[in-house]
Each structure stands twice: as structure tokens, then as C-alpha cells.
Amino acid sequence: TAFAVAAPAFADEDAELVINGEIEIVTKTTAPAHLEGHLTEIMSGWRFRSDDTQAMEMDDFDNPGMLGAEEGLAQFDTVMGSEGKACADCHDGVESLASVRPTYPKWNDAKEAVYTIQMQINDCLTERMGAEAEKYDSKKMLNFEAVLASVARGTPMNVAIDGPAQSTWEQGKEMYYTRFGQLDLSCANCHEQNYGNMIRADHLSQGQTNGFPVYRIKDNKLTGAHSRFKGCIRDTRAETFAPGSPEFVALELYVASRGNGLSVEGPSVRN
């Protein structure tokens, strides 16, 4: 029928994700305890994409996001800044940082603040390498994030929400349930109450961050979690927040914690 031609290719919400025929990715699991009363099951955004988009993530040769990870790896070995150092001079290969992607955002004792991966890398760049800080969600930062995610694929998201991070987490939680903009919509209105539903041509997912950075086919490049949040809030006809803002750091911690138990799958592919 005419409708079938116009309709978007529907996702197979029951498909399972195995990357390169070997890395098993948990894309659906029991929700963490803190979501009691909100969600019983958590699902990766991968489940909500069309068959074609899903397939692109099943093989690194078909995943354009892996080019970013390769560039990130090259950046890791590149000398940057006045101290003449590369990341690899201090860190024993990217694999030594495999615990980073599943556990960030994370409390940084020395800085007494919740730190995202990008904030941490900027500290290394500016305080240890004598280099310029990178702009939040710049291509270079997303390449670093992509390689740090790629070495952690298959490990469960496990951000800490208690201890010193708790108040930031609470702040993020409040934001998640706050309605923004002239359309008066919260993250939860779309991603908790309506996941699985179509909103115009978009199949709403749970808005999880386990797949970040995400290669968006529509933009032909990697997108960071904060840039995605920025777009979602903008789409409520609101004055949005900036990537790297304290609001988005808190929101990232909270949203990441909603995905505790899902595998890291970045760099992932989305439309």
C-alpha cells in the first residue's frame, strides 16, 4: 500500500546485538533499582532503529563511527602541547583506560566535582601536557570518546550514584522530570512515557547514553551526549543549555545511571 512505502522501516525490537560476530552487547535488561516505579526494563536505542541502521553497527567495517575511534587512537599516540607528551606516554595504551567509559561521569576527588570523560581529558591536556583545552563535543574530543568506548564495548554501564556524586545525580534526576519550553515537555514525557511510540517519523527510544558517542547517519558524524541533550531540549521550543554546562554534566550522570546494566556499545550508529 501507499502507506507502507511512506512509512519508515520498522525496527526489530527483539533483535540481539553481537558486534563482529564476537562482542555480545546487552541491549535489554532489568532496570536498575533506582528506577523502581518508573521502568522495569531498560533498552538501548539500538533496539529502536531500522534493520539497516541496526546492521551497520554489527560489523566494524560497516560502522562509520569506527573511523572516529581510529582517529582517536592516532590522537592518543600524538604529541600535543608544550610538554612534548602524548597520552600514550602516561597511559599504557587505550586498553588501560577500558574502565573509563562504563564508569563516567564520575566523582573526581581532587576537583571535588563530578567529571565527564571530556572534562578529564581536558585536565590532562591543559595541566599535564601544556596543550589548549578542547571545545566540548569537538571532533577531537568525540574521537577520544569513540576510542575509549570501543575498548569498553560489552562491559556494563556502571556509574556510581551514591557517595559524593549523589547530589549531582539528584540534580540530574530533577532535570530529567522537568518540563521545558513552549511545548512543555520533559525527557521523561518522551523517553519514559512514550518509548516505543512513533513521534512523527521518529521511533522513540528510552534515550539511553550507553551508545555514545553516536554516529548519526543524518549528520554524517559523531555526536556527543550533551549535543544530543541540547537538541532534545531545543526541540521542546526551549532556551537550551550548552554542552559542558553543569546542568548537562548532572543530566549525563543521571541518564547514564538509567542505563546501568546495558553494555557500552559506542561508537554506535543511529539515524
Binding site: 518540563r179 521545558f180 512513533m198
Partner: protein, 157 residues
């Protein structure tokens, strides 16, 4: 009288349309319904259909499907199917639903289409920037009337 005169100048409206236009801040709700026409000019259902199904205007289709506009691709599923809405609700109730559905369905995700204040960080359309001081409603008074006129045509078989 002075306010009405200012309206003429600012909006440059024709006398007949401006006379009766109810401002977003002056709407009288009665159990979610709005009895008084916002313009005094009856709505045009064909125009209402276009408003509802056009992304850059009402974009109701992003959340609602209806058999009558099944030709429009990508109808959403966030809101209920609108078939029979004109039988379930009377004109005043439909007007209230479009003006501000939160007066009928507490906590609904459906936006208010004729409301200009009380928002958290309102923006300037989809720019991500702060809203101007004189934020316009999502639909004009006449557009609301047109949408209501169209909804009234969605009768049960």
C-alpha cells in the same frame, strides 16, 4: 478601548477580525472547555486540516493519526486516534483542548496551542535561544478556530 486601538496598530488587523479576538491571557475556561469563539469568525475546516497536518504549523500529526488524513505520512502514536473526536467532544470542549489541554487532562504531554506564559525556559521557536518578550502562541486565534472546525467534522460513522 485604548488597548483595542493599540492592537489595530500593532497587528494591523482588519476591523472585523480584531473586534472580537480573545487574547491568550483572557481565556475563560469552564471545566476545560472554552465556550466563546476566539475570533467571532467561524473556522474553516479545510484550513484546519492543513494546519494539523503541516509540520511547520500545528503539527498535530506528529502525535495523532486520523483516518481522514491517512494520506499524510508519518502520523505519530503519542496521542490517541482522533477519529470520532467531533462526536466525543462538543465545540467548546475541543476549543479548550486545543487552547490548553492541561485544563482537561491534567499532566498531559499535549502542548497548549494558545498560551504565551508560564513556561520553563521558553525558547524562540526551534533556535534554542531565549524567547522574545512577546512570545507568540503556537497557533493564532483564527488557526485555533480552524482546527476546532476541522475536529468537529471528525464524527463517528
Amino acid at each position: 478601548m485604548k488597548r483595542i486601538a493599540t492592537c489595530f496598530v500593532v497587528l494591523g488587523l482588519t476591523a472585523s477580525a480584531a473586534m472580537a479576538e480573545v487574547a491568550p491571557g483572557s481565556i475563560q475556561f469552564e471545566e476545560g472547555a472554552v465556550a466563546q469563539s476566539l475570533t467571532g469568525t467561524s473556522g474553516n475546516p479545510a484550513e484546519g486540516r492543513t494546519i494539523m497536518t503541516t509540520k511547520s504549523v500545528g503539527n498535530c500529526v506528529s502525535c495523532h493519526a486520523a483516518t481522514d488524513y491517512a494520506d499524510v505520512p508519518f502520523a505519530g502514536e503519542v496521542g490517541p486516534l482522533l477519529d470520532g473526536a467531533g462526536s466525543r467532544w462538543d465545540e467548546a470542549q475541543l476549543r479548550g483542548l486545543v487552547v490548553n489541554p492541561k485544563m482537561t487532562f491534567e499532566g498531559t504531554v499535549m502542548p497548549a496551542f494558545y498560551k504565551v506564559d508560564g513556561f520553563n525556559r521558553p525558547g524562540d521557536a526551534f533556535t534554542g535561544k531565549a524567547a522574545p518578550a512577546d512570545l507568540p502562541p503556537l497557533l493564532s486565534a483564527q488557526q485555533v478556530e480552524d482546527v476546532v472546525a476541522y475536529l468537529m467534522t471528525l464524527k463517528d460513522e
